[in-house]
Symmetry: C2
Subunit: 483 residues, 2 copies
Amino acid sequence: MTFVPSESGRQANAQIALRTAFAPQSIAIAGVSPRTTGWGGGQMFLRGIRNLDRVPNVYCLNPRGGELSDGTPLYQSLADVPGPVESLISAVPASAILGLVDDAIAKGVKVMHLFTAGFGETGSSERADLEVEVLRKLDEAGIRLIGPNCMGLHSTRGGVSWMDDGSTTPGHVGMLSQSGMNASEVVGEGKRRDINFSNVASFGNASDLNEADFLEFLAHDPDTNIVLAYLEGIRNGRDFLRVARDMSRARKPLVVLKGGLTEAGSRAASSHTGSLAGSAQIWNAVQRQAGFIPANSIEELLDLAVTIERMPQVSGPRCAVLGGGGGVSVLAADICDRNDIPVPWFADQTQKVLREFTPVAGTSIRNPLDAGFMFEGDKMETALTAVADDPGIDWLMVHTGADGGGPASRRGNLAEQMANGLAAIAPRLSKPLAVVIRQPRTNAGFERGLDLQHRLNDHGIACYQSIESCARAIRRYLDWQNR
Amino acid sequence: MTFVPSESGRQANAQIALRTAFAPQSIAIAGVSPRTTGWGGGQMFLRGIRNLDRVPNVYCLNPRGGELSDGTPLYQSLADVPGPVESLISAVPASAILGLVDDAIAKGVKVMHLFTAGFGETGSSERADLEVEVLRKLDEAGIRLIGPNCMGLHSTRGGVSWMDDGSTTPGHVGMLSQSGMNASEVVGEGKRRDINFSNVASFGNASDLNEADFLEFLAHDPDTNIVLAYLEGIRNGRDFLRVARDMSRARKPLVVLKGGLTEAGSRAASSHTGSLAGSAQIWNAVQRQAGFIPANSIEELLDLAVTIERMPQVSGPRCAVLGGGGGVSVLAADICDRNDIPVPWFADQTQKVLREFTPVAGTSIRNPLDAGFMFEGDKMETALTAVADDPGIDWLMVHTGADGGGPASRRGNLAEQMANGLAAIAPRLSKPLAVVIRQPRTNAGFERGLDLQHRLNDHGIACYQSIESCARAIRRYLDWQNR
């Protein structure tokens, strides 16, 4: 049994439904448990929505009634809610879903999100039939559906969320994800890296509203400048390609992490969202046609958001690599080269300037610049300026650790000195600057590295977690610019 | 002008000199500054040696005499030292080196380490001539040389070190490195990952004692079970290959990170240690002939040490991947597949056991096992046992984050529960278990992740920082086993 939506159902405009879903005036959560241990059913959504505190009317439902420990009433059914409900989140079990759908139709709900899972993705034909029945009823009533089997929406401006620990700062990065956990990871990692989000959608099975609808929403969303995507399968390839191509023409960046490109991954995707993932070969062709930026991991999605938000002016690949340590410099050059980022020797004039204040012994001034010395005193500006003005260089990468270098007493000091120095110098340089803060080894190092990164981000300086991830992100961004 | 060692000089046995250098009865450090700011010249070595507290007699030299703030006397010359000096560390400038060498010969020093840099690696012919003159004098006197331009030795049992923050716990991993900073990084990272070292050498220019001598020492060192190496160039290819092949035959693992394999890296290596780095193609042939394990980064060196110390019994590549999150599981399968680690579906019998206590909705029980549920209660042992007993599986990978999952109040709890659970179960499983603790996002997450890792390491369980690094290390180890 397959569901074919009616014309009238299709015409219930997806984009209007999504505008309501991302920023509702009223929302109800069905399946909120008064338990305080565990996930507490729909309590997760209640916490996320309350954390953002922007939706005027929020209601909780539980067939047993009662109230939460803070006095929030639990309505026994949607009919009992004293006001209209534009958007409905379902956290009830699949077995109770048909009743809830009938109630939603009766109440005049406009859009429904099924956190509820246990439908077609289980592989059971009975469960698949149930999904079709839900879709048929909603379609008939003109209610659009998000999910099932997904976390739903996170909107810093609209006020809906499934996360109580995501950043609440409105930003300009949008995301669509077939996996709720991957969306949570990206938003959580984004918080750490000072990447703030506009609208995020986890859409799971995508039985009704699918990746093309969400992409279209984000493509036209004035609050969204960059779109990140995690996809396993594509339901509506034609429309997805059309919107992706429109974005490419409009130079609005779309970065896509595709899960299930290998045989093992494809098998896993079929268990996860019932997606037929397709081969890497086909996907590469799609990528070229659609003109988006490919990413291979969640870290890469964020590396690209960092690059696009903070290094948009990078105009070529030739990199000056600056940081302490001869061996680290050799490996850094290898990594850049492998990622197709050239590390050319500096011009004679640049080397001349650097030589003036470089200890002769064991210090390369050619590129990479073995520049541990440079973070002491006022040498940093001279060195960075000379390197930035080198005509053979397009951008600068400064790499540093947060743990090491010299006796323990000097370390915190150096990190702070470096952050302040770089923040002051970066705007005066003729080329863009990226900073790599290598992985810390100690609690103190982690804290210091995070602090350094936040300070640099405050000044709009792009930070990365490894030389490799920095080089790779710049390369991918340039490839997209030159597509 | 090239230096050709005399027969008598060669016969001053390198291995005897290295035994003395790694575990001297008496050591002098030349060029110790009484300044307490900055590196304090040779004070770095004094701190490292005092931290290990195993060398009976330690002397500090400074041509101006005086004493350190703690009353340690600074002898004006080696001749003033009241007792024999077996090993001499030089932290004097290159301009003062010939005088120090004469003093060392007069004092009867057996082995000398030049931290002093500024010789052949600068590209200046005058500096290169000075290096040759030093070598000629030492050779004539039968004194062997470590360096110049290097950090020298770190020996947890012998008591010499340039690090005051490396682990002091004697271990069984040896290392040789052409870069001091890379050696420090490996030892520092090792401390974080509970990998302890036996003897470590940073040998820089390798003008006399070279990579083959250090490898020979570590190959026969009864305290060393695994050897890690960072190399830029090879001085003595014939002997290096011979020792590497002997180690391969003796099944003593050697893991080599080669710097300068790309064009940019090779240029950087020539500035760093004056090495001619050679091409990747030639190096691959060397690797096959010599039978060592190749690594591409410092992280990989440690991943292999972790694998060899804690997963030696892994007998095949087929992996069961267990952890929370459908999308994360899809990406995990992709990563394993790309690293040639198969993730086959579990046998029917295994799936049957898993199904009994798995919530049906949205949870894959095929492999990867979307197993967030499993860390609650006593389900973990049932799940891990069923999976380990699957005849199609060779090893288990459990992946987890340290930040996330559920409300904040439950997180610390879960990490502890998981560590205790895994530690109790792992020894009873029929297959080896690896744990991936994903990168943390918060100070609390970092602390919790590190704590979880230390707890698991205490029980001999291998921990990795990403699914990719785990899969890659197991693959490389298996390839070496099957070479």
